[in-house]
Amino acid sequence: MTTELILFFSLALIAIITGLGLLISKNAIYAALYLVLNFFTIAIFYLLLGGAFIAMAQVSVYAGAIMVLFLFVIMILGAEKLGKSNTVAWQRPVAIILSIILLIEAGYVLFWRTAPVQAAQTLPDGFGGPASIGNVLLNNYLLPFEITSVLLLVAMIGAIVLTHKQKTDKEV
């Protein structure tokens, strides 16, 4: 049990450090790479919690597809540097204050306003695999699943329409 605890805290530490690295890195490429590391850490965290399929989906969808898309766009636009300042000057203190307030609120609610939590039950072998998740998705949550597919279709069409270069476009 203590190994689990050590693993949890080291993973949480790595995830938070990479998140902070994402915030303070000036170069957008470095920020994206920090985010990849963060996603991998969270995938290992899912494995620790017993969600094998979720962990694999995290690596392939987030760390694979989404971050490759981000890196592509950053490199296409040459947007890795923004010149003088990284953040809007007056927004930084406001953002720090708001984020810290949110964190304190969440910590307060979670630690002092919740019922005592139970420990995690042990999981049977072969649990949380793709087959069981597919069963749940296609039996209990068929409608949200189908709506998600429609959403993906709409997003695809939207992305194509938005990036399509029109001949009659005038520069604004």
Binding site: F8, L23, Y62, T114, V117, A120, V136, N140
Partner: protein, 102 residues
């Protein structure tokens, strides 16, 4: 022993970091990255609640899968918007995109 509280605190910390990124960065791509981090924190929450409340029902993981799909769609449209804006305005700094500012 990990408890649900620690998982939730971890996810709240990730969410706050993402929120800071969204509020304070100038780069539109970096803002999208902050949104990704926040969605990820939500996923950690879902998986944590699944694990610690009733692991026999896999609802938490099913919802996490749906959140994955939504995040992918959001990134595709968001980055397409960024490219479209860059094509017209030659910038992706969020405070330079003030076409609709009164």
């Amino acid at each position: 022993m990990i408890t649900l509280n620690w998982v939730l605190i971890f996810s709240a910390a990730l969410f706050s970091i993402g929120l800071f990124g969204v509020l304070a960065r100038r780069n539109a791509v970096a803002i999208l990255m902050g949104i990704e981090l926040m969605l990820n924190a939500v996923n950690v929450n879902l998986v944590g609640f699944w694990r610690f409340s009733n692991p026999a029902v896999i609802t938490g993981q099913a919802f996490a899968v749906i959140v994955f799909a939504v995040a992918a769609a959001e990134v595709a449209v968001g980055l397409a918007l960024v490219i479209s804006i860059y094509r017209r305005r030659k910038t992706i700094a969020a405070d330079d995109i003030d076409l609709m500012k009164w």
